[in-house]
Amino acid sequence: MKERVISTALILILNIILQSTLFQAIRIVNIMPNTSIIIIVSYALLRGRTEGAAVGCFSGILTDIFFGTSFGFYAFLGMMTGYICGRSFHNLYRENYILPIMISSAAVFIYENIIYFTGFLFKGNTEYFYFLIHLIIPEMVYTGVFSIIIYRLLFAVNDWLEQREKYRYRLF
């Protein structure tokens, strides 16, 4: 348990640091992949809805603190993403290669739409199709590509942790 909490915290902190610094260099037409969504979705798929929600909440809190204007917005969005993904997709093979890509892209679509509706449409910005074509769809594609790598990495980390826990607690 302790190892799992520490490794998750490290992964989330590393993610926010890389996203805000190094990954700025890999922006394509000013769009960068949403790696925090990939991590939330991966945790939801690998560990279920509760851990998905917890990881989403903490990753959102980090974004809120450093880049948000109100505290709790991204935390709520992240938590809901983790919870809904974990709840909806709890009975599928997690070894599958294609599903994480599709789920990450779909999660990005819903997540960014909520940001558009709350942050832009309510302020009178009605150019939805501009945002759809220039921001949401490119980000979905880019995130999908990145999810292949990140999901596999987290899958390996999770495997390693589960092996350790199996011996410690004499499960199975």
């Binding site: 640091i17 805000s20 909440c57 450093f66 505290f71 938590m79 940001i115 832009f120």
Partner: protein
């Protein structure tokens, strides 16, 4: 742990409600960070600083190889520029003296007062695609606080929206939530410079609510106006690139090209009127003297 397992759903629901309430209550707040935020910032900002410095080191090395030929030429140009600016500066300081004398004769206060400044490095940028927020490496420890103004290379960059102990959050004028009261130098027409998402990625912004009779033209210099209580008057923002009439026909808007290159921005200058930064620096040096 057992408690958590049993009441999982209830805990999640309560947490969700609390987060929604918090995000509504804290929306649009400006102020300084709380203890939790400052502590997390204390841990994370040094790491961000290291990563930014390492990546910009390699980026510089890479571009140096490309640009070595141009350097000599650029150096000569810059020397000529310095000479020109020095001459200009001398002339302006004479005018400043004259201005002081004349305004003391007329008994009016100085319009463009001197400000405290401190340089700061941008250590992290917004990980999302919607907004234009960045983190700089100085905070309340150095006397910075919310609503201080950020400039770079002679142009306006934005303002600080929140200060932690070791870091501050800045919002650039390209962000769609930012608005700055501005005026044209030549004609004195007022307007509001706002960020716009469709222009943000090209590094441009928009000046709205210009009167339809205003004689503003392409190439006009835009500066901050005297109407704002955050931005001091007279900071240059950019030049007008294009003028368009709004669909209602009553007002015009202009597309502004800022003087600052937001894509390659890495250091900013923090400006404050109040002299807080000087006080903090003084206190720090006093403390050192005492400890010595």
């Amino acid at each position: 742990m057992k408690f958590f397992e049993n009441y999982k759903k209830q805990i999640l629901t309560v947490l969700a409600v609390v987060l929604v309430a918090a995000s509504i209550l804290t929306a649009g707040r400006t102020g300084n960070a709380n203890f939790l935020e400052s502590t997390l910032g204390f841990v994370i900002t040094p790491l961000q600083k290291v990563t930014t410095n390492v990546s910009s080191f390699f980026g510089d090395k890479f571009s140096n190889i490309k640009n070595e030929k141009d350097l000599e030429k650029e150096n000569e140009e810059l020397k000529a520029e310095i000479e020109r600016l020095e001459r200009e500066n001398k002339r302006l300081s004479l005018m400043d003296e004259e201005n002081k004398k004349l305004s003391s004769l007329l008994e009016i206060s100085q319009k463009y007062a001197a400000y405290d400044t401190t340089a700061s490095q941008i250590i992290a940028k917004d990980p999302g695609n919607w907004y234009n927020i960045f983190v700089i490496d100085k905070g309340t420890k150095e006397g910075l606080s919310a609503n201080m103004v950020l400039t770079a290379e002679g142009g306006l960059v934005g303002k600080i929206t929140e200060s932690g102990y070791t870091y501050s959050k800045g919002m650039s004028i390209l962000d769609s939530r930012s608005s700055v009261s501005a005026m044209s130098v030549r004609t004195g027409d007022l307007g509001i410079v706002k960020g716009d998402y469709t222009l943000m990625n090209d590094g441009l912004c928009k000046m709205e609510y210009i009167d339809s009779d205003a004689e503003i033209m392409e190439g006009d210099e835009i500066i901050t106006s005297h109407l704002s209580d955050i931005f001091p008057p007279g900071i240059s923002i950019g030049t007008v690139k294009e003028i368009k009439t709004d669909s209602n026909g009553l007002t015009k808007y202009a597309i502004i090209e800022p003087h600052v290159d937001f894509k390659h921005l890495d250091t900013v200058l923090v400006i404050s009127e109040s002299g807080e930064m000087e006080e903090t620096a003084k206190k720090a040096s006093d403390n050192e003297e005492v400890s010595n």
